[in-house]
């Protein structure tokens, strides 16, 4: 093998690639949000129909490439071995080809047109190939190890279910599914629910890994409680997605299963409250350790978003929030508040960000951390406010016109746009510090070589 290739650290490479995608996602997100305030903004050039998928796909790439980087970096520490760099190299190249192709297709107004993550199906091919290489690397790295800790199980679950649901997402290519509108929508939302569940498995697994590492213990990832929580999460990944489609006239059993399974999430919620007091002293002890601080921020966002999700999973409440900005608040709250916070914690840890060597940056990072959390809270509240107002409108007997209702949301939308710009600035500062310090220390090469 080529000497330089053998030295490459693909865990770090994927994390840095993901951080760049985060920056793209934020820029496109702010541009897309301007369409709400200025209807003519870039209308004939890009417009909302291109900016929305540009934003969503960039955010997805941030999460998926970041999750890939977390697994490679984590496995490297857990197994003491590196992945096959030939396969990782091709995985990286295939992702790059897919991302360039997807971005170009949006600029050329060539869409996949499915809800949330969409692009021309041709670009799914390099992603599937890259994922198969990833699975093959994963199996090679862990196959000699017995008694896996829970995070290895979670990573395995995440990568298997990602591939399954990603392929399932293309059943619409067959006319029999496409022409049966209700089943097509059911499968689409089955996929969306399970796809989110699959990367949540990877990221929550990473959070377990980081907690073990920070606390210098091996107990968290091997306890019976951790495995119980893993199976409960897996059960929800598989069966709770029905709560997205209560109003869709699909088979009734799908809705009931979605409802009942979603209610098991109370167990997670109660556990967070129960563990909270215990965590306080540990939070104080580790406050200045950035990976820990981002993990704790993610816990608070889990608390807020899970509480909201459980309430929204009750159909009698869901009928008020379905199709409103409350759903967007939940989606943004989880991807930014939970997924992104865990990923940033992982970036600080796996990219070996050393606070002692970056003492001058600590103050900047401290301030930025709190600005980030404040802007996110404002952003989340603004979307919830807009959603509640729309929910009241959609259930009212004498409805005003759709455009009048949209105009009434303007105060909330203004806060949403301004706080979105605040998120762009805060995330960018953190991402730039991480990227710059990583490049200056050559973390894309194995440090021991």
């Amino acid at each position: 093998m080529n000497m330089k290739l053998s030295k490459l650290n693909f865990g770090s490479l994927f994390l840095l690639f993901a951080l760049k995608m985060l920056l793209f996602g934020l820029v496109f997100g702010v541009l897309a949000s301007l369409s709400y305030v200025y209807p003519e903004f870039l209308k004939d050039k890009l417009g909302f129909i291109s900016l929305r998928p540009l934003h969503v796909s960039s955010a997805m790439f941030w999460i998926i490439l970041g999750a890939t980087g977390c697994i490679y970096s984590g496995l490297q520490i857990y197994t003491g071995t590196s992945a096959s760099n030939q396969r990782s190299k091709w995985q990286f190249i295939l992702w790059t080809v897919a991302i360039i192709g997807i971005f170009f297709s949006y600029f050329l107004k060539d869409f996949g047109g499915r809800e949330y993550w969409e692009f021309n199906p041709i670009w799914a091919l390099p992603i599937v190939m890259a994922w198969i290489l990833f699975i093959s690397n994963f199996i090679t790295m862990v196959k000699g190890f017995k008694q896996w800790p829970v995070y290895v199980w979670m990573w395995l679950t995440g990568i298997i279910f990602f591939l399954f649901t990603f392929l399932e997402n293309y059943l619409w290519i067959f006319p029999i599914f496409r022409s049966h509108f209700v089943t097509d929508m059911t499968i689409q939302w089955k996929v969306n629910g399970s796809l989110v569940g699959s990367w949540n498995q990877i990221l929550y697994g990473t959070a377990f890994f980081l907690m073990d590492r920070i606390e210098n213990s091996k107990s968290t990832g091997r306890s019976k409680l951790a495995f119980f929580m893993f199976f409960l999460g897996l059960f929800n990944l598989m069966f709770n997605w029905g709560h997205h489609i209560y109003t869709l006239p699909t088979e009734k059993y799908i809705r009931y299963i979605g409802y009942w399974v979603s209610m098991t999430e109370w167990v997670f919620f109660i556990r967070i409250i129960y563990e909270w007091k215990k965590n306080i002293t540990t939070i104080q002890k580790n406050y200045h350790h950035f990976p820990y601080r981002f993990l704790m921020a993610s816990e608070i966002w889990v608390f807020l978003n899970m509480g909201q999700a459980i309430l929204m999973s009750i159909p009698a409440i869901n009928i008020f929030t379905h199709g409103t900005h409350v759903t967007v608040a939940h989606a943004m709250g989880t991807t930014i508040g939970i997924n992104s916070m865990i990923l940033l914690a992982a970036c600080f840890e796996f990219l070996n960000f050393n606070l002692e060597k970056h003492a001058r940056k600590i103050k900047t990072l401290n301030i930025t951390f709190w600005f980030l959390q404040s802007f996110l809270l404002l952003f989340w509240l603004a979307l919830n406010g807009a959603g509640i107002r729309k929910g009241i409108w959609q259930m009212s007997v004498n409805q005003s016109s759709y455009s009048q209702m949209m105009e009434s949301l303007n105060p909330f939308i203004s806060v949403f746009v301004v706080s979105g710009a605040g998120l762009l600035i805060s995330f960018s500062i953190i991402a730039f510090v991480l990227i710059k310090s990583s490049i200056s220390r050559n973390v894309i090469y194995h440090q021991d070589s």
Binding site: Y36, P39, E40, K43, D44, G47, F48, I49, R52, P53, D110, F111, G113, R114, E115, E118, K146, Q147, T157, E168, L171, P175, I176, R178, S179, H180, F181, V182, T183, D184, M185, T186, I187, W189, F227, F231, L234, F235, M238, F239, I245, Y246, T247, L248, P249, I254, I257, Y259, I314, P315, A316, I317, I319, H322, G323, H325, Q394, M395, V397, Y402
Partner: protein
Amino acid sequence: MNIKVSTIFILLCGVFLIYSFSIYIIPFKEKAAVGFDPGQAAFGRLVWQKHNCQSCHQLYGLGGYLGPDLTNIISNPQKGEVVIAPLVKYGVKQMPAFDLTDYELSVLIQFLKSTDASGISDPRNFIKDNFGMINEHEIK
């Protein structure tokens, strides 16, 4: 522990596959609703996707937020087929003008007829039961 974990994992995956296939077989055992051409509606679905209509509009409350829900636009007495054609052709506010051929427009309308025939998306159409579940009113 790992044998126990593997067993539970495989069992859960098996149940998940059975559940998934129970959904995949629905189109094979049900007849398509009347009032539209299923073949054209399937093409219309592709036109809907090609122009990324979902980024701004919703079907059954699922989709974007800039424009209104279009599930039942065909049967809406104030809108319907007559209003759709000029809106698509000339655009309005954030909605750009789409350069659709007559064929594309006709199959898109067939697709919207299929969504309309599938049920009612208006949340006011639902009633709650004692368990917190919601059900559609029987009569449209």
